[in-house]
């Protein structure tokens, strides 16, 4: 056993008993605080979330107000904040400089004219600033990651809790169903789902959420099965507490920690899935910028501007690394056996 307490033969032989219990969210968080890699992950996510907030504000303005001509005529568009503080990524169409290289670099289109700080990462095939679009893509990534995971979490918890708690044919039916769902590759399931219901980002999120229900359902079910045997559940049942209350008050809180770990890791996975969907054209629809879609666009322009396809990938990578670091940190804190 690779323990931190480190006894070679007997776990409680050398490890000084901690005064406070080594479980619970507070303890977990205190462990995470001492884990530098988890803190790096947290830093990444906090930064990404702040960036996403800017895009989020503009996104709300754009989505809700942009439909009205009055506001559109007033110049409300999805880059209001960016434009106010820095640069409008949507260049004047007549004047747009497309596929400009990043700062200090040249490319085939601009062999004698290096990129400038006006567009540090260059511009895309429509002359839009890549950095600003990257920033705005954060909003989509973070939102879809969290929302789709939230959907999977809620539905999966429900399915898993019911299956594990009632057992019998209900368990069999739900678990077979969730196995079936798992048997169809996520991406294909979601594409079929979006084809059936509509190619909107909302459906992508719902689709990914549904497709990943089995992950949470299994986890919760196994927790429920172990908790169900506990004496206090028997006692609660004998005392006439209703099943629903037992699940809500005892089983769910007892499963909180592993679910938190899984959810954090799942956000990263879902960001990757939705990036893949956007790459295939099944995600956020233009003009809303998303990283997958930027990569998809980049394919045609890779030759003159390889940078165009590098940036969004790095953005996805960093974000997902962030969630994975936090998830790993949480898991290590919860399970000291695989601690480092």
């Amino acid at each position: 056993m690779a323990t931190t307490t480190g006894s070679s033969l007997d776990a409680d032989e050398s490890g000084p008993e901690q005064p406070e219990a080594r479980v619970g969210l507070r303890y977990t968080l205190s462990q995470v605080k001492r884990d530098p890699t988890a803190l790096v992950g947290l830093g990444i996510i906090v930064f990404m979330t702040l960036v996403a907030l800017v895009g989020f504000v503009d996104g709300v303005l754009f989505d809700f107000l942009g439909d009205f001509d009055t506001f559109a005529n007033m110049g409300v568009h999805q880059y209001v904040l960016a434009e106010t503080f820095w640069v409008n990524p949507v260049n004047d169409p007549g004047n747009a400089q497309i596929l400009r290289p990043p700062v200090y670099l040249t490319n085939q289109l601009y062999p004698n004219e290096a990129g400038t700080w006006a567009h540090p990462l260059g511009t895309d095939h429509r002359g839009r600033d890549i950095l600003v679009r990257l920033f705005y893509g954060t909003r989509i990534a973070i939102t879809v990651g969290i929302v789709s995971t939230g959907i999977a979490l809620i539905l999966g918890t429900l399915v898993g809790a019911v299956a594990g708690y009632y057992g019998g044919w209900i368990d069999d039916a739900l678990m077979r169903g969730s196995e079936t769902l798992y048997a169809i590759p996520f991406l294909i399931l979601v594409i079929a789902f979006m084809t059936a219901f509509g190619q909107k980002l909302t459906y992508a999120m719902i689709g990914v959420g549904i497709a990943t229900i089995p992950t949470f359902a299994r986890l919760i079910r196994s927790r429920v099965l172990s908790v169900r045997e506990e004496d206090f559940i028997e006692a609660a049942r004998a005392a006439g507490v209703r099943d629903r209350d037992i699940i809500l008050r005892h089983v769910v809180p007892n499963s909180f920690a592993p679910v938190l770990v899984q959810a954090t890791l799942q956000i990263g996975v879902n960001i990757l899935i939705i990036a893949g969907l956007s790459f295939l054209g099944y995600g956020a629809q233009p003009p809303t910028p998303s990283w997958g879609q930027m990569l998809s666009n980049s394919r045609q322009y890779m030759l003159p501007n390889a940078w165009f396809s590098i940036w969004p990938g790095i953005a996805i990578l960093i974000t997902v690394v962030g969630f994975n670091l936090i998830g790993d940190g949480l898991r290590d804190a919860l399970d000291p056996r695989i601690n480092n």
Binding site: T5, G6, L9, D10, D12, E13, S14, P16, R34
Partner: protein, 371 residues
């Protein structure tokens, strides 16, 4: 008496954790004579298991053996000496890891672990595991090793050993598995077997059978044993001599009869009070008060003073010496308690402890008078 087969002197093992240094084994000394069954007793957390794994040099990170000498048949399994800078360092006589592995482990000293359910590899056949260890430690051919293995299985009372040889561990009960582990230890023909709570995980009836088996085999093979347990009942049944450990230290050591009948240390006394004894009738059992403090920050003076019914102020200040207190003509009886030292225990004020508590004061006085 001839030179003891195993001699442990001032062994120290520490764990370097984030919270601080845990002095799991803090300078223990004991010996095992040939053919002797020596007990190592204490509550969990006393450092018994760490002590045994230290002897085998199997302590894992972040644990480290930091001092002392362990001599086995003249070989230095552990040997620290003071370097020119005053720091302790490994002496040149101490066996290398490679020597330890090839010459000592299995061949000379075998170990039996607490939980037989975990100690056998679930994916290999029992016989194959047995045979491998025999091959390694007895320099015999595979065929010969198999024969020895089957014989040994029969010896430890496994029915149909030829058939069971090809079974997987999960097809054995806990008691049967422990028999396999004992067969494993004996089959390598070591001169010393360290048994780390080998019966703790078993049912009481199975435990009795295993103890009888060990007793019988020990006499037949004349193997020496170090028997680690928290159960004084087991000690009474099989041990010749007993070491009582508390918080990393051995606080009393005596022949088994002396320990039970001429108990010297208040901790041992408390331990004995906490178990039912056939030789004494008590109205009710009297569990030891309080919990063992952490080895990371042990109490000053005598480490037991926080729970000792006899504690006096001096116990807080003086760390008792480990000394022989036997009467002339008797076997050696080592104990470390200030009561047997001339450091002013008799004049010191009684100390309020977890054991004395609200109504314990009178008890302390009564006992004090008895001294």
């Amino acid at each position: 008496m001839s030179e003891p087969i195993l001699k442990v002197e001032n062994l120290k093992t520490q764990f370097f954790t984030e919270e601080g240094t845990v002095r799991a084994v803090d300078g223990i000394s004991f010996e095992v004579n040939e053919g002797e069954l020596v007990g190592l007793v204490g509550e969990s957390g006393a450092g018994k298991s760490v002590a045994t794994s230290s002897i085998m040099r199997l302590v894992e990170d972040p644990g480290e053996i930091v001092g002392g000498t362990v001599t086995y048949k003249g070989k230095k399994l552990i040997d620290f000496e003071e370097g020119p800078d005053g720091e302790l360092r490994r002496s040149s006589e101490m066996l290398s890891n490679e020597q330890m592995r090839k010459q000592i482990r299995g061949k000379e000293i075998a170990i039996i672990f607490q939980d037989p359910m975990e100690a056998l590899n679930p994916v290999f056949k029992v016989g194959a595991q047995l045979r491998e260890f025999i091959e390694i430690n007895r320099d015999v051919s595979g065929k010969e090793a198999k024969r020895i293995a089957v014989d040994m299985l029969r010896e430890v009372g496994i029915p149909e050993p030829e058939k069971r040889y090809d079974s997987y561990p999960h097809q054995f009960s806990g008691g049967m598995r422990q028999r396999v582990i004992i067969a494993m230890a004996l089959a390598c023909e070591p001169d010393l077997i360290i048994a780390d709570e080998p019966t703790t995980a078993l049912d009481v009836t199975v435990e009795g059978q295993i103890l009888d088996l060990v007793d019988e085999l020990q006499q037949k093979y004349d193997t020496s044993f170090v028997w680690v347990t928290h159960d004084l009942g087991v000690v009474a049944e099989i041990c010749d001599r007993v070491n009582v450990m508390y918080l990393g230290e051995i606080i009393e050591q005596a022949d088994v009869d002396d320990l039970f009948h001429k108990t010297r240390h208040p901790y041992t006394e408390a331990l004995l009070d906490s178990i039912p004894r056939p030789d004494q009738s008590v109205d009710e059992l009297n569990p030891i008060k309080g919990v063992m403090p952490e080895a990371i920050n042990p109490p000053s003076g005598c480490r037991f003073h926080t729970r000792c019914p006899d504690a006096r102020t001096v116990c807080r200040e003086v760390h008792p010496a480990y000394q022989d207190v036997s009467d002339p003509g008797e076997a050696r009886h080592m104990v470390s308690c200030v009561k047997y030292e001339n450091v002013g225990y008799d004049d010191a004020e009684p100390l309020e402890t977890e054991a004395t508590g609200a109504f314990g004061g009178g008890l302390v006085e009564a006992r004090g008078d008895g001294q």
